[in-house]
Amino acid sequence: MPESDAQHLTFKLVYYGPAQSGKTTNLLRLHDLLAPELKGEVMTMETKDDRTLFFDLLPLGFRAPSGLLIKFRLFTVPGQVAHDGTRKAVLSRADGVVFVADADRAQETNNGESFQSLAANCARVGLDFEHLPMVVQFNKCDLPSAVPEAEIRERWSAAPWPLVFAIALTGQGVETSFELLIRTVYRNFCQKLKLQSEHGLSEDAFVAGALGKST
């Protein structure tokens, strides 16, 4: 459930996935691509070999017609297997997840293990994995060794989550992933948070506010 008081509503969105799949790159590109009313700096906590040790954070925000300030705090988790405790702590209280998989065929096992750990950690931190708003992004589709889109679609055909094929390096698919996620988030919380009824926010307005452009 998002944190809220009379003037604020904060959604925590988490970019989860195996190490080096492009989570940090997603945040960096979003920072460049999006132009919401309020946009903070990307705060990265990286070790010198460029692997995220703790997390990255990108804050975004816009004001609803009612005056409510809606904030999004986008986090990434460390992908390395050793950081499972940190992953759990970052994942807890998440309102939505973008699972960033690495399309490189050599990374299939890592993707699988990471996805398993997401499901397991959701249970541990008290998130309902079944109903958690989620988008699955296959990144690095530019790689020659990337698994073809058709094959991935075929394999994920039974899964309920939207699939996005991305090249985070160039920004392709990054915004779409974010947009699809916040649409699901909106539908998930619209009723509970009276987004439409009290704050005058339609789904499209919500998305437009978050992206900083009319959709």
């Binding site: 944190e3 925590k12 309020l38 946009k39 705060m43 975004l60 950081h83 405790g85 940190t86 702590a89």
Partner: protein, 400 residues
């Protein structure tokens, strides 16, 4: 409001009193004397905000967490001070988030370890139980193997004893036959010889003088004794043959109750007085068996029962009962005779072991009995009290 690393940090959390004491005077000096710091709601943390003061917001993420105020500073100086403070606060918030997250993740790892530990303890307990179970099973199987081994050994022993017995019986039967027939002939000859006494002639005097009356009479007695001895030998040989015959003959479908009745009627023919039979036979399923051997088995056991009562010198009863359950057929032959000591029971199934005086039997009764039972995959056991009686329990499995 959660206390997680990802909360939105307040200014007074990031700048504790000690840091305020250091920063306050420094900024005052830099900003020309007047300086105040408030939180986002306007509450002063350092200095006194004057109403005409210039104000700069301190922003970490999206919204101000507090304000810098000064009436003495130039706009450029105040803006530079804001940059300085923001950098300081951002470094501080990174440190706070990182250290709080570190604590949370250590706690999480600790929780995982505890869960892992609980799982390990549980599986250790399971394995302990399993290993105990396995040990018991192994013990049981070793026991079974040892028992089988013993049975095989006994069976081999019996087989070789059986062969020896068969050979002996065969060898003894020949001389036995002609000695018996010679004895009969010789008795006839003696009769002829006795006619000398009444034969007219001078021999009668010599008869008297040599007391041939006595010799003739005693000679016939001796022959009768010898014939009895021969009979006994013949019986022993017959027992030996029966004993050695166990693995031969053909299988038939039979009702064990009929076998029991036949054996009883055979024993009853030469039963001493004062011994009663009581039969308590419930319907039994037919089984495939060697009826000749089964008869022999029942005959031996029942005859033993009768002899045990005779040995006690009291009247008594042989009680024979049979019944079937889903596993097989149970037969019990109980007598009220002399009974056996524990030591006697221990030896009872050994061939040539007998408690009777030498000469009254070869002691093959129970050994044969067990041979027969084992050939039918059955079990035989003895339960006895000296002077109270003996119960022989037999079990024959029926196919499921």
């Amino acid at each position: 409001m959660t206390r997680g690393f990802d909360r939105e940090w307040q200014l007074d959390e990031l700048l504790d009193a000690a840091s305020q004491e250091k920063i306050g005077p420094a900024l005052s000096a830099l900003l020309g004397g007047d300086f105040a710091l408030t939180d986002q709601a306007g509450k002063a943390l350092w200095g006194q905000p004057s109403p005409e003061a210039r104000r700069e917001a301190l922003i970490l993420e999206l919204e101000p967490v507090g304000y810098l105020l000064s009436s003495s500073a130039t706009p450029a100086a105040l803006s530079a001070a804001r940059q300085l403070m923001q950098n300081l606060l951002r470094a501080q918030v990174r440190f706070k988030m990182a250290s709080t997250l570190h604590l949370e993740s250590v706690a999480e790892d600790f929780e995982s370890l505890k869960r892992e530990h609980a799982r390990l303890s549980e599986s250790e307990a399971r394995y302990k139980a399993l290993s105990g179970e396995l040990e018991a099973r192994v013990k049981k199987q070793v026991g079974e193997l040892e028992e089988r081994q013993q049975m095989l050994y006994e069976a081999e022993k019996l087989a070789s004893v059986g062969q020896l017995a068969a050979g002996m019986a065969h060898e003894i039967n020949n001389p036995l036959g002609f000695v018996r027939s010679n004895l009969t002939t010789f008795e006839k000859y003696l009769g002829k010889f006795g006619e000398l006494k009444t034969h007219p002639g001078p021999l009668a005097e010599g008869w008297q003088a040599l007391d041939l009356d006595f010799i003739l009479e005693d000679g016939i007695d001796l022959l009768h004794d010898s014939a009895k001895g021969m009979e006994r030998i013949a019986r022993i040989v017959a027992d030996l043959k029966a004993f050695s015959n166990v693995d031969r003959a053909s299988q038939e479908y039979a009702d064990l109750n009929n076998c029991l009745r036949e054996a009883v009627s055979m024993v009853e023919a030469r039963i001493p007085p004062g011994i009663q039979f009581r039969l308590d036979l419930l319907p039994l399923p037919g089984i495939v068996c060697l009826p000749g051997h089964i008869n022999q088995l029942f005959f031996n056991v029942i005859r033993n029962a009768v002899l045990a009562i005779a040995d006690s010198g009291r009247p008594g009863e042989v009680k024979i009962s049979s019944e079937a359950d889903e596993t097989g057929i149970h037969i019990r032959i109980h007598d009220t005779g002399v009974g056996m000591t524990a030591e006697q029971i221990g030896h009872a199934f050994e061939p040539f072991y007998t408690t009777r005086p030498v000469g009254s039997g070869v002691g093959l009764g129970l050994a044969t009995a067990r041979n027969v039972v084992q050939a039918h995959s059955g079990r035989i056991s003895l339960d006895s009290q000296p002077d109270a009686g003996t119960t022989v329990s037999l079990f024959f499995p029926t196919p499921p």
